[in-house]
């Protein structure tokens, strides 16, 4: 099956008085129907521009963007408007209309689409129930908390029964607890309503919490793409590694290693744990059969997409021969790195 959203060799440059700036360079990317796809990158990496190509809020400089079989990057503005009404979008600053009530905000896209007053009322009631804000229908945005505002944003974005929801840094202005609330809601949008969700973020925690697949962006390019587990467990670039480190601090950095070396005798060994690796058994066996002692000195194991994942660093002490044997046996069941 063809992907729902497809970028083919997409480039985008902005021209201003100051000159030409390349925002995106030869992007190839596919987003499948029904998945939660995250785009992560630092500010200025081009991720917000990329997501705006999907609903043609921005145009491409070259290449094509195809959404559900239609090359949206080549449509007229009038046609793009029609397609846009079927793609929901939420924003970092919520972008609610202050002059309208919660009801008025959610009803706005329906009004644009020419729904009758009666159908608007029924649909808004349904949406407010879905996001849990039925009692706030007549409140104005200024009277709501950040989390409530984003719920209204989500209800408004869902009004027209879109198949795609674009979330541009939708939790970046929220505190951690509210962030989780909103992410849970986005997951329901995906699982209960079947929308494909594209999440733009600079927070790795957001990616870990809800995404199926992730693309890492840097300087207008997609530098890594894959399932969240694959990208997190085996980052191939420094940028990705740094992102992973923001949430999985289970590998000692150079400073940690220096401190550990002072504190413990023997060899320092980092073992990557993933899925059903059983290093405990191997270690117990090594202790039983050889005169080997070990201490767990750093690390942690987390759950990613329902799989265990992490790394523990061990200080092994004993004869050089025994340590070598134990490392070899650990190496047979897991990825082992002897720290220099």
């Amino acid at each position: 099956m063809a992907p729902l959203i497809e970028f083919r060799d997409v480039s985008k440059t902005f021209t201003s008085r100051a000159g030409t700036v390349s925002a995106l360079a030869s992007i190839d990317l596919e987003i499948e129907a029904g998945e939660i796809f995250a785009i992560i990158g630092h500010s200025g990496a081009g991720k917000s521009t990329l997501v705006r190509l999907i609903n043609a809020l921005e145009g491409v400089t070259s290449g094509t963007v195809t959404v559900d079989g239609v090359v949206i990057s080549e449509q007229s503005e009038r046609e793009a408007r029609r397609i846009r009404s079927r793609i929901g979008m939420i924003f970092q600053q919520f972008n609610l209309f202050r002059s309208r009530t919660v009801f008025g905000n959610v009803a706005y896209p329906l009004k644009l689409a020419g729904w009758s007053k009666e159908r608007q009322r029924a649909r808004v009631a349904e949406l407010l129930a879905f996001v849990g804000l039925t009692d706030k229908a007549w409140a104005y945005p200024d009277q709501l908390s950040g989390g409530q505002k984003q719920r209204v944003g989500i209800a408004r974005a869902l009004a027209n029964n879109p198949t795609i929801l674009l979330a541009d840094e939708s939790t970046s202005a929220l505190d951690p607890e509210t962030t989780q609330d909103v992410l849970r809601l986005l997951r329901r949008v995906n699982s209960e309503l079947g929308l494909t969700v594209v999440v733009v973020t600079h927070e790795m925690d957001v990616v870990r919490s809800i995404a199926d697949r992730v693309a890492v962006m840097e300087a207008g390019k997609v530098i890594e793409v894959g399932t969240v587990f694959d990208v997190f467990s085996a980052p191939r670039t420094d940028t990705t590694r740094r992102f992973v480190n923001t949430i999985l601090r289970n590998r000692p950095d150079a400073e940690d290693v220096a401190r550990l070396r002072k504190q413990y005798e023997g060899s320092l060994v980092s073992v990557t744990v993933d899925g059903d690796t059983a290093i405990g058994e191997v270690l117990a066996d090594a202790v039983r059969r050889h005169d080997l002692r070990f201490e767990i000195v750093h690390g942690g194991i987390d759950t990613l997409q329902g799989r265990s994942f992490g790394s523990v660093t061990l200080a092994l002490s004993g004869t050089a021969e025994d340590i070598e044997k134990a490392v070899a046996r650990l190496g047979a069941v897991a990825k082992v790195e002897v720290l220099a």
Binding site: I83, S85, N95, S99, Y108, L112, A113, R156
Partner: protein, 220 residues
Amino acid sequence: MNTDWNTLWPVFTTSIGQTLWMVAVTMVFGGFFGLLLGILLYTTRRGGLLQNTPLYTVLNILVNFVRPIPFIIFITAVGPLTLKVVGTTIGTAAATFPLVVAATFGISRIVEQNLVTIDNGVIEAARSMGAGPVRIITTLLIPEALGPLILGYTFVFVSVVDATAIAGAVGGGGLGNFAIAYGYQRFNWTVTWIAVLVIVLLVQVAQFLGNWLARRTLRQ
């Protein structure tokens, strides 16, 4: 000094009527055309909904050209145009035409300034729902800026009342003219102050109404 109110009274009431008429017509037409011109200034500017740099440049220069002209000079300078449109350069109607033109340009800047304060994100949100420029202007920009717009129009109202006093220069009548012709020039301070009192009252009522309406829309 005795003031002969039997002869002054009809002149006084006519003057009030003339002022009210000039202000009303100016606010309605100047308000409408000023709104259009202001929206045009806002939307054609760089990065605007209907970005059109040549049009914006022309409008911008035109507004900047007209606005600083003192009204007493403006009213006589546009005389030939007034003659074409109204058919005469003397009287209340002849004074109202330049008032409407000047108000249009003045209001356009106030409208533009209030629209600029609207967050671009809100416009982007409307675009993301498939709204076109006209829908965005009518259903989003104006409602979002309504509170400040009302205050802006109230501010203009006071300036318009001020400007109508100059209408007397071309035989337009009104309270300003009444105060000068029957008060100042006849050394009758009572008449001058009564005219001033009515003008102050008019402005107070307008300001009160404007504030009240703006507060209602801003819900503060």
